[in-house]
Each structure stands twice: as structure tokens, then as C-alpha cells.
């Protein structure tokens, strides 16, 4: 029970920070490389905290991101729902991959996400994006091990603290 609220708290905090991260403006050179932060977080949570990261949560957070970014309502929601579903489905395979292979899997997931995003763009009549549109999955792949480390560390610490709290 306590561990569960702990997880929720960590998740809320992570979502909040990740939303901020994705809103922070980068220098124009770097801007196209911005990874899909929320997607990365959802991948982690679907792998390690599946009680928290369900489809419903993915849906709601996606909607929120859509509103924040003035996007077509439902685009991010759809992408996150699909991402979460795929990860949940292959959870027990991806979890036991070594980090390098996991990063590759993340690359695949993010590429898939990019393709979905491209579909939506094309359907909405936004035209083809520039080539730099495809950089983001690469960056996500490179960031994955670090995100994993940080989140794991945070989770362990939370668990320890809650453990000592109940003892």
C-alpha cells in the first residue's frame, strides 16, 4: 500500500519534470533533436512500474500534453497509448535485455512513434517534415541508459525510505 503510493508519487513527480523538460526551449540547432521525453518515461514506467503506467494513465497524460502544446487533441494520447501497450506486451522480454539491447528496443519504439506522428501530420495536412524529424529517436536511444539509471536510483531510494518508514 505504502509502496504503491510511493510509486504514484514518484510517477507524478517524474511526469511533471518531464513535461517541463519537453517545454524548455533549446537552442535552434538542438531543437529538432529533442527526444519524446514523456514517451521515454512511459516506456520506463511500463517496464518497471506497470501498476502505475496503464493505458488510461497514458491516455490522460497524452491529452494533457496535447493541450499544453496546442496540438491536435488526441495525437499524443494516441501515441502514448500505443507505446504503452507495445511495451506492456513485450515487457518480460525487454526487461531482461542488457542495456544496449534495451536502448535498441527503445529506438525501435520511438521510431514507430515517429511514424505514427508522421501519419497524423499527413492526415491533418501538415506535409512532410524535414529530415531532422527523424533525429529524435536516435537521441532517445542514447539517453535511455541514463534515464533508466536515474529513475532506478530514485525508485530504490523511495522504496528504502518507505521501507524504513513502516518498520
Amino acid at each position: 500500500m505504502n509502496a504503491r503510493t510511493q510509486e504514484w508519487r514518484l510517477f507524478g513527480l517524474a511526469v511533471f519534470s518531464v513535461l517541463l523538460l519537453s517545454l524548455v526551449r533549446l537552442p535552434p540547432m538542438l531543437a529538432p533533436m529533442k527526444p519524446f521525453w514523456l514517451g521515454l518515461l512511459m516506456v520506463y514506467c511500463a517496464l518497471e512500474m506497470p501498476r502505475v503506467a496503464g493505458l488510461g494513465v497514458a491516455f490522460i497524460i497524452g491529452l494533457w500534453l496535447d493541450v499544453l502544446t496546442g496540438n491536435l487533441l488526441g495525437e499524443h494520447a494516441m501515441r502514448l497509448v500505443i507505446l504503452t501497450h507495445v511495451v506492456a506486451r513485450f515487457r518480460f522480454r525487454i526487461r531482461f535485455f542488457p542495456v544496449g539491447q534495451q536502448a535498441l528496443a527503445v529506438f525501435g519504439l520511438m521510431l514507430n512513434d515517429r511514424i505514427l506522428s508522421l501519419w497524423v501530420r499527413l492526415f491533418a495536412g501538415d506535409g512532410w517534415p524535414p529530415w531532422s524529424f527523424w533525429l529524435s529517436p536516435l537521441v532517445a536511444m542514447m539517453l535511455w541508459p541514463w534515464l533508466f539509471l536515474v529513475m532506478d536510483r530514485l525508485r530504490m531510494r523511495g522504496r528504502q525510505r518507505s521501507g524504513s518508514g513502516t518498520a
Partner: protein
């Protein structure tokens, strides 16, 4: 999957994503997207949820604000900076005035003084600042720090000291969303300040280039022409400078000419902006025929461009056909 169901102990009950749930959520998102795109039924939803946006934007902007403050402090010129900002706003206001005058001048020239210049539009500008947040590097939208509380209206034009930047597409209590000219979904009715040719200027997803596509081959548009907003459609004030034509492409094989233009506003760089309140009388630019005096000098030009007089009289320009333009226009010269 069977592996996962094995491992799914009581601890993990309630977890997982069944395919049914996935299908339901996907259906909802797709319906939402269609509703948002087509109907615009979701404005209320947007407005309600966007209440949370203000504080988040402020937080996300912090690194830039702090960085800028540090830099300003270091060179000890905060005073200069604020002064600069004031001057900037002054220039913006002045720019608006000039646009107004330019429009009047054009109007006067075009109406040859006979029709009253009564529809003077009183333009009001609301100074605003771009909030330094990145919505999506591939969308051409920015957030500005004025919202419905400050009197921003949806559809209002947004300009910088160069010209039109875009228009407000969503108003929230403390901020609003501006779609830049360069957004592929943005089309702005413009008028050529020299020839009076009307067309629609579209974004192509590039901050340095706008396009006029599907224009008749005979259209009177030349490199260097100034494009002003024409006010067709009512919402956008007329006469604001928008772009300068940088290339006109008339390939004999295609039925239409295309032109690309460079926006006069710094779409990427602009930070201090002005939201132009809706004009009191949203009269579109009076459409007029060219007077003989104005048509005459054009005939001295090369046939391709002089042929455009016919097109200039036809705002949509849909009737001109390739190959016919020369003979047709010769017949229409007064």
C-alpha cells in the same frame, strides 16, 4: 504473452493492457482528433484544460529567463535593455501607423480619389512577449504572454517590427497560442502592393519561406514586390506588411505559376510582438478595377508580366489558362 500471464501474480492484478482497452482508447483518440480537426467542438475542452498551462510555461521558461537575467546583469546594462524594450514597443506601434498610412495611400491611388476613404480602420496594438517554451520543434506555433484577461481575441493578427507574424488561434486566460505564417495550415489573403493582385500566401513549414501556389501564369507578380494583408475574410486587418516576393516560377509546362516570398517578420527570432485588436469595421479591402492610367505603364513591360492585368481584375485568378494568356490579355488592354 503467456509468459507474462504466468508471471502476473496477485501483486500485478489490475495491470496490463488488454487489446480491448487498447482498441477503445485508440477509437477515442481518433474520434477526438477528427472532432478537433473538423468541427472545432473542443474549444471549451481546450480552454478548460489549458488553465494549467500558465504556471507550467512560467516554470519551463525559468532557465531562459535566469540565463538572460544573468547575462544582462553581467554586462550591467539592464537599464539599456529596458530602454531598448520600450523603444522596441514604440517602433512596433509606429510600424502599425505606417502600415495604416500605406494602406490609405494605396487605397487612395486605387480608388482614384472618387470613393470616400471613409473606412479608416482604427488599429489598436497590445504589446506582448513570446514565452520561451518549445511546444514542438516541428510545429510553427508560439505562446505569447497575453490572454483573454488582457483582451486578446481569437483570430487577431500578431505582428513584429517587420510585419505580420501570424494569428492567434487559441486564447487562454493568461496566455495565447499564435500560429505563425510559416505553419503549413496557415493561409493569409494578401494583395500585391504594386499591382493589386490578390492571392493567398501559404506556409510550408519553413520560417524563411512562404508560398503562393496555384496562381495563374499571367499573374502580375514580380520579384521584389511587397505583399500586404488584404483583409479578405474580415478577421485580419488590411494593409499590414507581410512578405516580399523573392522568386516567381512560371514553368511553361504547368498550369499555374508559383511564387515564394520571404516573410518580413522574423518568425523565428521575434520576441517582442504586438497583438493587433480586431478592426472596428472589418471591411475587406475595397475591390476595384484598374483604371486606365494604372494599366498603361504595365503594357510597357515584357509580355509575360503585362499579361497579368486580366488576372489582377479577377481576384481568384481561376479563369486564366496557360498558353492563352498573351492573346487574352492583349484583348483586354483598354
Amino acid at each position: 504473452m503467456d509468459q507474462s500471464s504466468q508471471e502476473r501474480s496477485a501483486l500485478f492484478a489490475g495491470e496490463g493492457s488488454s487489446t480491448l482497452a487498447l482498441v477503445i482508447y485508440l477509437a477515442i483518440t481518433i474520434l477526438l482528433m477528427i472532432a478537433d480537426r473538423r468541427g472545432g467542438y473542443l474549444e471549451e475542452v481546450h480552454a478548460y484544460a489549458a488553465r494549467l498551462s500558465g504556471p507550467l510555461y512560467t516554470l519551463a521558461e525559468m532557465p531562459w529567463l535566469v540565463g538572460r537575467a544573468l547575462r544582462d546583469g553581467m554586462v550591467q546594462r539592464s537599464q539599456l535593455n529596458s530602454e531598448n524594450r520600450q523603444l522596441h514597443q514604440a517602433v512596433l506601434q509606429r510600424e502599425l501607423r505606417i502600415a495604416e498610412l500605406e494602406r490609405d495611400l494605396l487605397e487612395q491611388r486605387r480608388l482614384s480619389g472618387s470613393i470616400a476613404l471613409a473606412q479608416r480602420l482604427q488599429l489598436e496594438g497590445l504589446p506582448t512577449r513570446v514565452i520561451d517554451v518549445d511546444l514542438d520543434p516541428f510545429s510553427h506555433r508560439v505562446v505569447v504572454d497575453q490572454g483573454s484577461r488582457d483582451g486578446v481575441l481569437e483570430g487577431a493578427a500578431v505582428i513584429d517590427d517587420g510585419g505580420v507574424v501570424g494569428q492567434v488561434i487559441e486564447v487562454r486566460p493568461t496566455n495565447s497560442l499564435v500560429m505563425l505564417l510559416s505553419d503549413p495550415g496557415h493561409g493569409l489573403p494578401v494583395i500585391d502592393a504594386r499591382s493589386g493582385l490578390r492571392s493567398v500566401l501559404n506556409g510550408v513549414g519553413n520560417a524563411d519561406r512562404l508560398m503562393i501556389s496555384s496562381m495563374p501564369l499571367s499573374a502580375d507578380l514580380e520579384v521584389g514586390d511587397l505583399l500586404l494583408s488584404s483583409g479578405v475574410g474580415g478577421r485580419f486587418p488590411a494593409g499590414l506588411p507581410v512578405a516580399e516576393v523573392v522568386a516567381v516560377e512560371r514553368s511553361p509546362g504547368s498550369a499555374y505559376a508559383r511564387a515564394s516570398a520571404r516573410p518580413l517578420a522574423g518568425l523565428n527570432r521575434a520576441r517582442e510582438l504586438l497583438v493587433v485588436a480586431e478592426p472596428l469595421s472589418a471591411e475587406p479591402w475595397p475591390s476595384t478595377e484598374l483604371s486606365p492610367e494604372q494599366a498603361a505603364p504595365a503594357s510597357a513591360e515584357p509580355p509575360q508580366s503585362s499579361a497579368a492585368e486580366s488576372a489582377a481584375q479577377d481576384p481568384q485568378g481561376t479563369e486564366a489558362e496557360p498558353g492563352q494568356d498573351d492573346s487574352e490579355s492583349a484583348g483586354q488592354q483598354p
